[in-house]
């Protein structure tokens, strides 16, 4: 809104009026202007084209100039043709100017085109300026003929100012609308050299000098003038630090006020100020620069500085939910429909209306909302800026009922400070009951799932998750399984039968590994193998000996027994059996710590075998049996003695 208040004065709506500077032709002019007013008013209402002609004087001398103004007014000036001038016999055209002006009256744009002819009379006597015609849209517009009396000598009192009262610059009857874009004539400007206060002055006022923080103060800048200006004045507003500023609407049309008996055209710029902090403030001067005429120097006007005392809001009685609203407000709440459907959003419309800083109003807190899910709030505001800032701010809460039945929207509270009575006020709305019809079966679960949400709860740690996908209609359907595909056991790792299988392979692997190792040892370690095998092989040989004995092969019997003993000892000692004498055997075995008794018996066995083999004499069966037993005992003893050691 900033542009709106400063612009009017600068260009658009400042209305320039041509004032006839010579007062002597007052009566004439009054009549004439009355006439003009009538036509102008008619034309303005019809919104069509109008044409007017006027002269600055009706009496002049031969050496004088006459200024003839033709004003064409209409909604679209571009389409307007130039007027046709009548036969101007008795005058010669010295010069002509053309200008156009936009004016904004009652919200309507009106454009006017002014053509000014400077005429010089050539003859003395009564001259008539004929009707000026304008053709537009098939119609012809005409001005009234104007009569002028030209005298030989200069008329009396030509340069004397007009008597004030009848020639008052603002005749109320004369409309402001047909303005003339430049001063009536260039020669009249010296006369404006009178005290500025008299014709043009500015003021700046506030409606209150002592206000609360946030209270609305109206700052009014007024521009008073009685004369026309050469061009739009330049307005420099006061710096306004420490205030929120809202520009108020400026009336498009200047008012007329009478000050000290003189009528003034007044234009006002109003601003609503809202002090931000407590303290003493001074509003600096506003300035206005203007120029009354083309040749006159620009002048600057200044307003008086204004001091404002801003007092803090009282602490006493400040409501807990007060959030800084100052002014006078009303609160209302309503839902768009009293009957909703589960899961279908309803709108809660909360409206705060009043006088004050509307834009800064906070969102009323909607707490303890049960059964609803709250979505984003949309805020709209509607401001009225005439004379003071007032208006309304609407908060639209989008609520989705998650439960069916009669749900209650709790009351809303809003607190403000009213500077008029200096007290805090808290407004509350009535709770609103909404009856919610249950949703279709498929959606009810979804709905209930989102229920129980409460907002602004004391926990505060958990933000409510609000994005629920409402588009998704349903969950997937159940699995219609049959009994035969049902499983009874849950987990294989709990199955004891299964678990009992598990260690067995590992044990088997370990057994295999150990067996293999043992086998490798047998194969790789010959000495060890002979040591382990010796007993077994000796017994095998003895068994062979028994078979020989049964067959009656005595020699073979003794050879086998001898061999079994010799090979056994050779195996045990890891020696070659062939060529091993009994002497060597006894020595080696005794070194291993075999007892004398065993060694003697071994010697005896071997001797007996040798004797029997080389001295062929018949031996009885009993002797053979005894030898076999002895050999077995010797092997057994040796096995025990050496086996333990190895």
């Amino acid at each position: 809104m900033t542009g709106k208040s400063t612009k009017p004065i600068k260009n658009k709506t400042l209305i320039k009026i041509m004032w006839p500077p010579h007062a002597a032709k007052a009566i004439f002019l009054i009549l004439f202007s009355l006439l003009l007013a009538a036509t102008a008013a008619g034309s303005a209402q019809a919104q069509s084209v109008s044409i007017q002609a006027s002269v600055d004087k009706t009496e002049l001398s031969l050496d004088d100039h006459l200024s003839l103004s033709v004003v064409i007014e209409g909604s679209n000036i571009g389409s307007l043709p130039d007027p046709e001038l009548p036969d101007l016999s008795g005058f010669s055209i010295v010069n002509s100017y053309q200008g156009s002006n936009f004016s904004w009256i009652n919200g309507k744009i009106s454009v006017s085109k002014t053509i000014k002819y400077i005429l010089r009379p050539e003859t003395v006597g009564k001259l008539t300026i004929g009707a000026i015609k304008l053709s537009h849209d098939g119609k012809t517009y005409k001005t009234e003929p104007i009569s002028v009396v030209v005298s030989r000598s200069a008329p009396q009192g030509r340069s004397s100012p007009a008597p004030s009262s009848p020639f008052s610059p603002s005749q109320p009857s004369r409309p402001l609308s047909p303005p003339s874009p430049w001063p009536a004539d260039p020669w009249a400007e010296e006369e404006e050299e009178r005290p500025a206060r008299g014709n043009i002055f500015i003021t700046q006022t506030v409606n209150k000098h002592k206000v609360y923080v946030g209270e609305q103060v109206i700052l009014t800048f007024s521009f008073f003038r009685r004369i026309d200006l050469w061009q739009s004045p330049t307005y420099q507003p006061s710096p306004l630090e420490g205030f929120w500023v809202v520009e108020l609407d400026t009336p498009e049309r200047a008012e007329i006020k009478t000050i000290d008996g003189l009528p003034y055209r007044v234009q006002e710029i109003k601003k609503a100020l809202f002090p931000i902090r407590a303290g003493k403030y001074t509003i600096g001067p506003a300035t206005l620069t203007y120029q009354t005429g083309f040749f006159s120097p620009p002048r600057r006007l200044k307003t008086e500085p204004i001091s404002i005392e801003v007092i803090p809001l009282p602490e006493e009685g400040k409501p807990a939910n007060f959030s800084g609203a100052v002014g006078k407000f009303t609160l209302s709440a309503q839902v768009d429909t009293p009957k909703g459907i589960q899961n279908e959003p309803i709108t809660l419309n909360v409206k705060i209306k009043g006088v004050g800083y509307i834009e800064g109003l906070p969102e009323p807190e909607l707490s303890h909302l049960e059964g609803f899910q709250k979505y984003d709030t949309t805020t709209t505001q509607n401001l009225i800026k005439q004379n003071e800032l007032r208006g309304e701010k609407c908060f639209d809460f989008l609520l989705i009922p998650r439960l069916a039945g009669n749900l209650q929207i709790p009351s809303l509270h809003f607190s403000f400070f009213n500077p008029e009575d200096g007290r805090y006020h808290t407004l509350s709305t009535d709770p609103i009951l909404v009856s919610i019809a249950p949703a279709a079966a498929g959606e009810s679960a979804t709905a209930a799932a989102g229920s129980g949400s409460s907002f602004g709860s004391s926990g505060g740690l958990r933000g409510s998750k609000q994005e629920v996908r409402p588009s998704r209609m349903d969950i997937r359907y159940i699995k219609e399984i049959e009994a035969k595909s049902l499983k009874k056991g849950l987990f294989l790792f709990r199955n004891k039968v299964f678990l009992s299988f598990l260690p067995a392979p590992l044990l088997l692997l370990i057994v295999c590994f150990l067996l293999d190792r043992r086998m490798r040892k047998f194969q790789s370690d010959q000495r060890y193998a002979r040591l382990r095998r010796a007993g077994r092989l000796a017994r095998k040989k003895l068994a062979e000996a028994v078979r020989h004995d049964k067959r009656g092969e005595e020699k073979e019997f003794y050879a086998a027994v001898s061999k079994s003993l010799t090979e056994y000892v050779a195996d045990k000692l890891n020696l070659q059996a062939a060529g091993l004498t009994s002497q060597q055997m006894i020595e080696q075995l005794s070194a291993l710590g075999v007892t004398e008794e065993v060694l003697t018996r071994l010697q005896h066995c071997l001797d007996e075998c040798d004797y029997a083999r080389f001295a062929p004499a018949t031996s009885n069966g009993q002797a053979r049996k005894n030898l076999l037993t002895e050999a077995e005992e010797v092997i057994f003893s040796l096995e025990k003695a050496i086996g333990e050691k190895k």
Partner: protein, 279 residues
């Protein structure tokens, strides 16, 4: 030499007969191996269970969710803890509007059948409707690892690990047996690869077993629960949780459980307001 080798071979053969065969059976017809309804029930019982199942499905279809839930729960209590039944129960509770219970059963079903599309979809949907939004941002990598770990169901994983274990043992035996054979080098290579896989798989399996048996996960089944600072009703309320929110149980003291939610907050709740996701 020849004799010892012979009985070594006999042992390997015996082993194959005894262990591989049952494992093959387990793999191909799991229900036979660990007591499927079909194997352990008489045809009479089977028919009765079938009737009950059909009845429950029918209740669900007609929207009589309480009756459907009762039927399914009865089957669970009789030992038929099947993923499909847990899933159906989840659906029934969802329709009843008890989101917490729905999530409980969906979670159970998911633990049994982690790759099932229906279960995953409905669980995700149920989770999306919960009120509590707990900030925990698992990284890309972590969620990928989680996916990998939970790719197989516990039973599949168990069978896989057992199979790898048996193959490893067979290879081990072959290596022992074929000492001088040229194939031995390849076997050793295979052994190394399989052993690595085995260690990984066994690790995952033990983690899963730990999750199922040791780590206690719970879900809020009450609409709103005030989480207290200690195991006492009149202690301060730290925060409140809403139905469907999952948490881990840290310890139990009488009727009170100390729980921790994903963002690290913890507090005490009463056991009546929650359910454990356990079997």
């Amino acid at each position: 030499m020849s004799k010892e080798n012979l009985w070594f071979q006999a042992l390997v053969f015996l082993f194959l007969l005894l262990f591989i065969q049952p494992c093959l059976i387990v793999w191909t017809r799991p229900s036979l191996a660990w007591g499927g309804a079909a194997s352990s029930s008489t045809s009479d019982q089977l028919r009765q269970i079938n009737d009950q199942l059909r009845q429950a499905h029918e209740y669900y279809r007609r929207g009589e969710y309480d009756l459907a839930a009762g039927s399914y729960l009865d089957l669970i209590h009789r030992g038929y803890q099947d993923a499909a039944i847990f899933y159906n129960l989840g659906n029934t509770y969802f329709k009843k509007g008890e989101l917490g219970w729905a999530i409980l059963f969906y979670e159970k079903a998911r633990r049994l059948l982690p790759r099932d599309e229906d279960i995953r979809e409905n669980l995700a949907y149920a989770h999306s409707l919960t009120i509590d939004k707990i900030e925990s941002k698992p990284s890309e990598l972590l969620s990928l690892v989680d996916k990998a770990i939970n790719f197989l169901s516990p039973n599949e994983l168990t069978v896989a690990v057992a199979s790898i274990y048996l193959i490893l043992i067979v290879i081990g035996m072959l290596i022992i047996w074929k000492k001088e054979h040229p194939v031995r080098k390849r076997l050793l290579c295979l052994l190394a690869i399989l052993a690595t896989i085995f260690i990984l798989a066994a690790g995952v399996l033990f983690y899963r077993i730990w999750e199922l048996e040791v780590a206690q996960i719970g879900v809020i089944t009450a609409k709103v629960v005030e989480v207290k600072s200690g195991p006492e009703e009149n202690l301060a309320t730290l925060f409140s949780l809403h139905e469907g929110t999952t948490f881990s149980i840290q310890q139990q003291r009488g009727d009170w459980l100390q729980i921790a939610i994903k963002n690290g907050l913890n507090g005490w709740v009463q056991s009546k307001d929650i359910q454990k996701i356990s079997f």
